[in-house]
């Protein structure tokens, strides 16, 4: 659902200590952060460790573990979140970026993971 709009085109950038990109929650509604179980980032076949990932919405940044007990903030419907990967450096140019989001959905009898890939260019 909305998989193709999950990774925001043109959003890959280098940041201090790593790289970042923007993503939307592929879902027809938003979700409280405690129900976002995992965000896995893979670039050109390399999947980065969970500990390296940071999630930022409206200027507040969380580790994935912090999100699990965050009950007062959300990833809103269609909202662009900044996904940062620390301790990683990407060369300028095209990269194949894959993001997989695991969501704990109350009414579903399984825990879905939504995965999307996009080619993104990192400016020199």
């Amino acid at each position: 659902m909305m998989d193709h709009k999950m990774i925001v085109a043109g959003s890959l950038k280098a940041v201090e200590g790593g790289f970042a990109l923007e993503a939307r929650l592929p879902y027809y509604r938003g979700l409280g952060l405690s129900m976002v179980e995992d965000i896995a980032v893979t670039v050109d076949g390399t999947t980065y460790p969970r500990e390296a990932v940071r999630f930022t919405v409206r200027d507040t940044t969380y580790t994935l573990d912090e999100m699990e007990t965050c009950y007062d903030n959300r990833w809103n419907f269609g909202e662009k979140a900044l996904i940062t990967v620390l301790g990683a450096e990407l060369a300028p140019g095209e990269h194949k970026v894959t993001v997989a989001v695991r969501k704990r959905i109350s009414y579903l009898p399984f825990v879905p993971t939504m995965t999307a890939s996009k080619d993104l260019a990192l400016a020199a």
Binding site: H4, R29, L31, G32, D72, R74, F77, G78, S106
Partner: protein, 340 residues
């Protein structure tokens, strides 16, 4: 029996456009009202950023009321979610679930709707406990009867019994017409074929669905035909969908107050080939239904891998169909051209 069936739209229908901001909430309220579908249903947390974890944004609620007034919209329902799996590894305690429903009753009251929608997995005890508060606020809590559940399923019967026992008229049902899928939807078949299901297997499953063959037999047959992965997944849709009968709603008409006009595809000649809307409207008339049928377009997720869904056109076609079935003389049409 007298009936009073009105047309509405769940803004869920326009999710692909509102997700990335192609259309705003104000746009989709205008579009719906121009089509004469002035009953507006929302999933609160889809249409209002922040709800529920970050609370209510009062300016946003005011903007909603301005849109509704500008276009003549009538608030029908706030569909709430109640995330009882909010805490990893433990369910939300009962009292907290009831308190959460009360907050959604307040939210619904703020939007000016008469109904709030409960998801079908919520237990009847939670809803019964929240009913006195709903009565106080002039709101009814409607549990969405949605495939694979249906009106003869013991879980729904348990709800019905609990509602009757409570003596409250603030509890009821919101049937989703997706439980009456009488032909395998074409957009599903095409999507599964794009995922690699061989045509002979896809044809077989489609035919087996029409022949009402038990899902487990179909899954085994597909396995024996050499089906793997997506072919099995296609056969497994028969576990979650079936052609239940619209007339099963008749026993519950006194508690049915809103309808999800689910559809997967409206053709150019205004037909939903997989859901028997002529029969559905006939049953609703027979049962004296008084309320809205709110369009709920769900073909989007089946086609978005190959084309951008045109939700507005799909909703328009369904509204034309509904207007005809309801005997309206005017054909619903958009008045404001959409930006290219």
């Amino acid at each position: 029996m007298t009936y009073d069936i009105k047309r509405g739209v769940s803004l869920y229908s326009y999710q692909n456009e509102t997700f990335d901001g192609t259309l705003t909430r104000d746009d989709v309220i205008r579009i719906s009202c121009e089509l004469g579908a002035n009953g507006i249903e929302v999933i609160g947390e889809q249409s209002f950023w922040g709800w529920p974890e970050c609370g209510v944004n009062e300016a946003d609620i005011a903007a909603w009321h301005e849109s509704m007034q500008r276009y003549g919209g009538v608030g029908v329902s706030h569909d709430f979610m109640l995330d009882y799996k909010r805490y990893k590894g433990r369910p939300m305690p009962f009292d907290e679930q009831v308190a959460s429903v009360k907050k959604d009753i307040d939210f619904g009251a703020m939007l000016g709707v008469k109904f709030i929608r409960a998801l079908v997995s919520i237990t009847p005890e939670v809803l019964v406990a929240a009913a006195p508060y709903a009565e106080e606020k002039g709101i009814k809590i409607l549990i969405e009867v949605h495939a694979p559940l249906h009106f003869d399923h013991p879980w729904i019967i348990r709800h019905a019994e609990a509602f009757e026992k409570s003596g409250s008229d603030a509890l009821g049902f919101l049937p989703d017409m997706g439980m009456f899928v009488f032909k395998f939807p074409n957009v599903w078949k095409e999507k599964f074929m794009r995922l690699g299901v061989p045509k002979n297997i896809a044809d077989y499953i489609e035919k087996a669905y029409e022949d009402r063959v038990l899902s487990e037999y179909v899954i085994l047959d597909v396995r024996e035909m050499g089906g793997t992965g997506p072919a099995i997944a296609m056969a497994e849709t028969l576990r979650h969908n079936a052609a239940f009968e619209p007339k099963r709603m008749l026993d519950y008409m006194h508690r049915i107050h809103n309808i999800h006009g689910k559809f997967y595809e409206m053709t150019e000649d205004y037909v939903e080939p997989s859901i028997p809307y002529d029969e559905i409207v006939k049953v609703l008339k027979q049962g004296g239904y008084k309320g809205y049928i709110c369009s709920e377009y769900e073909g989007n997720r089946w086609i978005e891998d190959v084309e951008e869904p045109n939700s507005v056109e799909q909703v328009r076609r369904q509204q034309v169909m509904l207007a005809r079935l309801l005997g309206e003389t005017e054909t619903p049409a958009l008045k404001t051209p959409l930006a290219a």
